[in-house]
């Protein structure tokens, strides 16, 4: 850059005198202040991932991939798994959706997860030991997350798993076409490599018998027992639990289901069961659901995928009776409050197998005799902040405790429980979580987020076609993952676009260098607010000046 050689001078008699002597900052009635706000994606993430942070590192390209992955696994140790099965509530809230389309966060997460497995990146191994032992019961997403985070904090962790392989519903509930087992196994192995001991085929049947060996216990048994409904059924009827079918398939014992399968229920398990039935050879798989599509608990993409694979759905229907291959269905109608009511109109359906997917319960036999641990609505009651049960030092997270029943939520709850466990083990008070200010869409100046629109959109469309975004099961390549990450608008956090620095009419913003952002020179800043108005990501507040 070519600059000026000499300091400014005025006149021959007065010598050098520069306007720097005059501090225009005294004019100011409002001052610009840089802020860091919580982006809507992270606020929506049940796992509490710093999405903006790891997308930001991904934007650097190859040089940033490992740093991005490390920021990602700081919250979630299963990115390759979650990059496949998470329902990504982050994307539903992404502000970019108001500009063109939301950022494909989930696809980038999967890219980072797969890249880490490919290159063998290891999770950090804690150096110091706390001398505390913690038992985690169950190795589903909540248990794995809890074990990982406990280990990162230096605690000794033992996970006891009833099944032959760890993973819980990830291993035995989610079909392999959505989550390849080698990916799951590799991410679990990586957690074990940090020093977490997973004891397979070791069910915990009595909490009192084992808790003396440990300083704390985290219960994450999940909800793996099929819920039952009373259906009059003839002796020749073939009625099975959907979750058992999924478990058998996962364990390599594919059952015979026949040519026609009816699945009773409207959740994601029902969708998995119907799609699995198709893969087991059923020519006709019908989901029988008593309400309408709008009320269906299954995620929309799950339903779309199932329908795309030839699964039919019989809406507003209940199974009234089963007799051999004859299934009697009653048509339902919704009352004024949206509840299904029988109409007295019956029809028949042929099904070789009826799969029940009407909910899952937790197996709580290990609590026998533990009267201080309350059970409410079939799940263990916990303190909403600390997730501690009625018994000191015993915590619960995931499907066995109240809340949303998704793997992502379970990972987040596992981590949350660990914060409380750690505070408990160290006799500290769990610090209150700060109230996060959201970087809402109205703070953004989206003018800056794309170039000449035609070029930009063509490039975007091409990237989307190749990558398949979220609908297609293949992953992103590095180029498209970086492109997708760069679509992140960094809502509420400075990403060093130089707008404030370049657009200050008073030359009153200092650029501090890469990664260091900027600072306002309040000696000269007049408080015009152009920096705040032209900040693309809403990272500057104008605050009234108080003198």
């Amino acid at each position: 850059m070519n600059g000026h050689d000499a300091p400014p001078t005025v006149g021959l008699s007065t010598g050098p005198a520069t306007s720097l002597a005059y501090h225009t900052g005294t004019w100011r009635t409002e001052r610009p202040v840089y802020v860091d706000l919580a982006p809507p994606c992270s606020l929506a993430c049940p796992s509490g991932e710093d999405i903006r942070g790891w997308l930001g590192a991904t934007q650097e390209g190859e040089a940033g991939f490992e740093a991005a992955w490390r920021r990602l696994v700081a919250a979630n140790p299963l990115p390759a798994v979650m990059g496949r099965i998470c329902y990504h509530p982050c994307q539903a809230d992404c502000n970019r959706g108001e500009v063109d389309e939301e950022v494909g966060i989930n696809a980038v997460e999967r890219f980072l997860g797969d890249t880490a497995l490919e290159r063998g990146w290891a999770l950090p191994v804690p150096a110091a030991s706390s001398g505390r032992r913690v038992l985690v019961v169950g190795s589903g997403p909540a248990g794995l997350s809890a074990a990982y985070h406990l280990r990162q904090l230096g605690h000794e962790v033992v996970v006891r798993e009833a099944a032959a392989e760890p993973g819980g519903m990830l291993r035995y509930g989610i079909p392999a076409y959505r989550l390849p087992r080698d990916v799951l196994a590799a991410e679990i192995r990586r957690i074990e490599d940090t020093g977490v001991r997973i004891e397979r085929s070791t069910p915990v049947t009595d909490l009192r018998a084992v808790e003396a060996e440990f300083h704390a216990v985290v219960l994450t048994m999940g909800a793996g027992v099929a819920h039952h409904v009373d259906i009059p059924a003839g002796a020749a009827s073939h009625i099975v639990d959907a979750i058992d079918v999924l478990r058998d398939v996962a364990a390599g014992n594919a059952p015979l289901v026949g040519r026609r399968v009816a699945v009773y229920g409207g959740g994601n398990t029902a969708m998995d069961a119907a799609r699995t039935a198709r893969r087991l050879g059923a020519a006709d798989a019908v989901v029988v659901y008593r309400r309408t599509r709008e009320q269906m608990p299954a995620h929309a993409t799950e339903l779309d995928d199932a329908v795309g694979e030839g699964v039919r759905v019989q809406w507003l229907s209940t199974i009234a009776a089963v007799d051999g291959p004859r299934v009697t269905i009653e048509r339902m109608t919704l009352d004024d409050e949206g509840r299904p009511q029988g109409t007295g109109v019956f029809e028949e359906l042929d099904a070789d197998t009826v799969m029940l997917a009407v909910g899952q319960d937790a197996d709580l036999t290990l609590l026998k005799g533990a009267t201080d641990i309350a059970v409410d609505g079939g799940v263990i009651a916990v303190d909403p902040v600390t997730l501690m049960t009625g018994r000191e030092g015993v915590f619960a997270a995931g499907d066995v405790s109240p809340g949303s029943r998704t793997a992502t939520y379970a990972v987040g709850r596992g981590a949350r429980a660990v914060r409380a466990v750690d505070a408990y083990l160290r006799s500290r008070v769990l610090p209150a979580e700060p109230v996060a200010r959201s970087a809402s869409a109205d703070r953004l100046n989206t003018w800056y987020y794309s170039d000449a629109p035609k070029q930009h959109r063509a490039e975007l469309a091409a990237a989307r076609r190749v990558t398949g975004f979220e609908e297609v099961l293949s992953g992103l390549d590095a180029e498209h993952a970086v492109f997708e990450a760069r679509r992140c608008m960094s809502c509420g956090s400075c990403f060093e676009c130089d707008n404030c620095f370049g657009m200050c009419p008073d030359d009153a913003i200092r650029k501090l260098g890469p990664g260091m952002r900027y600072e306002v020179d309040y000696d000269y800043c007049k408080g015009c607010g152009i920096c705040a108005a032209e900040c693309p990501c809403g990272a500057i507040d104008m605050v009234p000046e108080v003198r």
Partner: protein, 330 residues
């Protein structure tokens, strides 16, 4: 077109810089060691786009001239706010002139440099719309027709702002000023008055004429760089929103420049030897009201009876869009 093509890196080329850009892809203004030719402590009003544009223009010109740039400044806001005796906010060698003769002073500097056989020092003259379009037009026109080796930059804030917002021949129709009050049957500046300095400059067939705004830094820097690569008379016309004269929020100065362009009111173009060579297409078209409503000088257009004037504004935008093919595809 002098558009700078940079890769899509979170933001496109509309932002000042970006941490992912390499040094040679950056704008001059994104460099922490930019010349800052107009330095801190100047007395321009809050949100003054003229102060901003002047720094952008001069930093690029200084860089292009290898640090050897002489500047002649017409009287006007730009001079008043930057040089309160005994202080100066200018870093390059800078000379004060009268309201009317900045172009003539610059011509003199260029001539004396030529007489000394020096071709390493470049000359820039600058002024507001008063000093250029009204009072200084004769000197500017003379500089143009002799093809003197000067880049003349007009920062057009559409009135005599530092003397109390009187009308100039660059004041737009229907604008309220101290001398065109918003009273009577045709309030504000009359429709049908004023002139286009860009087209006057083009009519002189000088080597290079361009218009720009502070809403597109990359475009402005590229035009200054192009102008500095050419010898002879060159003219750059920059629209600079004025919070005081326009009655707008200081924070909205860049947004107003943006809506002036996106509504079709201010065409951003380039011409060589009198021929239009390129125009900046409208990217996201907006209605003229998006430009007019935030300005108190047009407040009467949004009261009962203002509809006719708004329609005439829309007709002006349409005429520009037709004349310069601002939507493309013609």
């Amino acid at each position: 077109m002098t558009t700078v093509h940079i890769p899509f890196l979170q933001t496109g080329s509309l932002a000042v810089g970006g941490r992912l850009l390499s040094a040679d892809e950056r704008s001059v203004q994104s460099h922490s060691d930019r010349p800052s030719s107009l330095t801190k402590g100047h007395r321009a009003c809050q949100g003054c786009a003229e102060a901003l544009a002047a720094r952008w223009v001069m930093d690029t010109a200084v860089d292009a001239a290898g640090g050897r740039l002489v500047v002649a400044n017409a009287t006007g806001c730009l001079e008043v706010f930057s040089t309160l005796y005994p202080e100066s906010a200018w870093k390059p060698p800078w000379i004060h002139s009268l309201f009317a003769n900045a172009a003539a002073v610059a011509t003199g500097i260029a001539s004396s440099l030529r007489a000394q056989g020096r071709d390493d020092v470049r000359v820039l003259a600058q002024g507001g719309d008063g000093g250029t379009v009204d009072i200084g037009l004769a000197a500017v026109s003379g500089m143009f027709e002799r093809n003197d080796d000067v880049l003349y930059v007009c920062y057009d804030n559409q009135g005599y702002m530092n003397t109390g917002v009187q009308r100039s021949s660059a004041t737009p129709a229907s604008a309220r000023t101290a001398t065109t009050p918003a009273v009577g049957s045709t309030p504000g500046q009359a429709f049908g008055q004023g002139k286009s300095m860009v087209r006057i400059a083009m009519a002189h067939e000088v080597p290079y004429v361009a218009s720009a705004t502070p809403a597109d830094l990359r475009d402005l820097e590229a035009k200054v760089r192009t102008a500095m690569s050419i010898h002879g008379a060159r003219y750059l016309h920059v629209l600079v929103p004025c919070p005081v004269g326009w009655g707008s929020e200081p924070s909205q100065s860049i947004a107003l420049a943006r809506s002036a362009v996106q509504s079709g009111i201010f065409p951003v173009l380039e011409a060589r030897a009198g021929e239009l060579t390129d125009v900046q297409r409208i990217r996201e078209r907006c209605d003229v009201t998006e430009y007019l409503r935030p300005q108190a000088r047009f407040a009467h257009l949004f009261r009962p009876g203002g509809e006719d004037a708004l329609d005439r504004w829309r007709a002006l935008a349409e005429a520009n869009i037709r004349r310069y093919d601002l939507l493309g595809g013609a």
